[in-house]
Symmetry: C3
Subunit: 272 residues, 3 copies
């Protein structure tokens, strides 16, 4: 169990608001007007409307925070529609945001304990706009949670919340049909092949894999760090998120291969 | 009146410094060397030299902060000239920045109580550069205000400070000649038509308006949320800032209409 | 000596991680799980792998922070190789990051007292990845320093750490062969000509210089502020970092001259 070492509650912020518009500034103000929480920016540059990208970000970082951290994630293309605002309480954290899956990858990883539909308008900023629930619903709810309000005070328990998944790979003898799930600033291509899955087909611990993405087909070494190959050379590596990355030492693999998130990738272990 | 719930004073930061240059890092350091204030980033990506955009940002968010928050805004194209550094004390807040209008929209909304010209160099970082008053004048002044120095200690009261305004609309029977005042990351086009003005010409609560921007002319529905129309369709909506927005559901209205801030827009109510 | 006015230790963060990927969010979480430090974002938009740019940023801002601030800088193209993780203790600060020079300009400016190679894995996040020492080594080490662990607890003293320098100018009678060391968001061109060097050749305090960059050759006025010339006009100015800048009033000098960092610039004092 994580220690709660912070005297102040922590609220992390993840949005697709960008930084030029007066949105994230309003969210922070609402929180600080209600609670003495410490506000931590994760990113406001999630691609707009991209629930999957937001979910992957939160999945990758939530677990590093101290117990009782409140993770607020606002990627909300359907704001003002019937999609529900929710709180997910997990073993260590609270997640607050729209019920569109953005919270689900991170929440499920930390053992979901209960999911609440936010309905109690006593905790909303009035009047509630239909275009900015981040400011009028999610920010005050996160702040009141930081003030030790119980999730149950915000509305009823629900069971049918939306869960998205990291797409599953298809394993076939010595090959894995996989998908690109993220491309980072450095051009590293992150696939959905976890180290565990990979080990099931690589029992004799081969040091090379054959990859195929679009027209590109190549044998690349499996490395422990980017610097085991020459600058600009390709490699395969189980990166910081424990998924197989296709990378180049100090250069962009994604630019060289001209790939995008969701592109298919075939990984084969050479047969001797 | 807003509660002062924060044990630490809050200083918000709004600049056009961007994030690649060693400017905002210096400003934060100067503040933290003087005061135990909590430093909150609003945005550092205001378009460079764009006073109007900075003023609109601050106008939109300042009011959400707790009482006694110090709002520091540094969009300062005339740094080092005779433009004056000022403090504006309002009913709930302190505003610190150059006297070029960037503070004025937000300050006037909160009832201006006094305006001080910052002159007392005892509170400046020495030597004072002529290119970076953000670091040498505004940051230390904000920090000393956070330490409970009174505005009067920084210089004399002035009356003739610069006020900019949101451009006024021209109403003519059933039409409003308006202007685009902001375009957000999502491509929503924010006009200067407030809900109050609009209601004066829409007494019978029609649900459609005719808009004209450049060559584009169309009838669009007045909606309560973006999702009341199909994805990609246009709509009119009174958004989170209470101004009429021309938007598209999950798509960019600004890209489709190829418009910019300051472009004219004509809004008509159809005659039955 | 700088006062230590902060009840909470401060950790500043400087990286080339960008803001779209789940890297800086993980680093902050690790720090906050260990320490009650206050985390201050400097920039995460240093050009990727650009050690020189990161070093210049830190050099420009570190000194404005209160005593005992921990400056964490992660521009780390050789992560996972033999490059060492280090702590540099200076008169006022602690610097944590890779031993590739990124810390060195700022550290040397503040009098280096000792340099430690980080080796004690008791303070690492396990398992230590070979691709993300920012999260697994640097973040926890910075956090434990904030908790008052002594640098010596993390590993042995070393002497042979990597120091980079701001390139030196070549002075020849009335001319200085210099180099562009930074170009900021406003298009100001910052050279490596310090005010001290310049004064050695400008004893009679001339008010004009002749500059040559690529094909561009022009006489420009030496000004005290950007606004001493007309809008769009060129000027020379000793800017906030005390180096000679070639700038234009409210316009981009870099765009007009089509220059880049490392380009040569010749500055001459006209002979009467």
């Amino acid at each position: 169990m994580r220690a709660k070492i912070q005297p102040e509650p922590i609220i992390t912020l993840l949005t697709d608001f960008g930084e030029e518009d007066p949105y994230i500034g309003a969210v922070k103000g609402v929180i600080l007007s209600i609670s003495y929480a410490r506000v931590i920016d994760l990113s406001h540059n999630i691609q707009k409307y991209n629930i999957q990208e937001g979910a992957f970000y939160l999945f990758s970082v939530a677990k590093y925070y101290p117990k009782n951290t409140i993770h607020l994630a606002i990627i909300d293309p359907e704001v003002g529609s019937k999609r529900r605002p929710i709180i997910i309480q997990t073993k260590n954290y609270f997640f607050v945001g729209p019920d569109n899956g953005v919270l689900s990858l991170a929440a499920e990883k930390d053992e979901v304990q209960k999911v609440i539909e936010i309905k109690n308008s006593a905790y909303f900023l009035k009047p509630v706009s239909k275009t900015f629930h981040g400011r009028d619903i999610f920010a005050p709810v996160a702040a009141y949670l930081a003030n030790n309000k119980k999730p149950e005070e915000f509305g009823p328990l629900i069971q049918d919340w939306i869960q998205i998944k990291i797409p599953k790979v298809r394993v076939n003898k010595n090959e894995i049909n996989a998908e690109i799930i993220h491309i980072d600033r450095f051009g590293n291509i992150i696939t959905n092949i976890s180290q565990e899955i990979f080990q099931t087909i690589n029992k004799d611990e081969k040091k090379f894999i054959q990859i195929q993405v679009n027209e590109f087909r190549s044998k690349v070494g499996l490395c422990g760090s980017y610097n085991e190959v020459e600058r600009g050379e390709f490699l395969g590596i189980f990166g910081s998120s424990n998924f197989l990355e296709i990378a180049r030492n100090q250069d962009s693999a994604a630019d060289a291969l001209n790939v995008q998130v969701h592109d298919k990738i075939l990984v084969e272990l050479p047969i001797d």
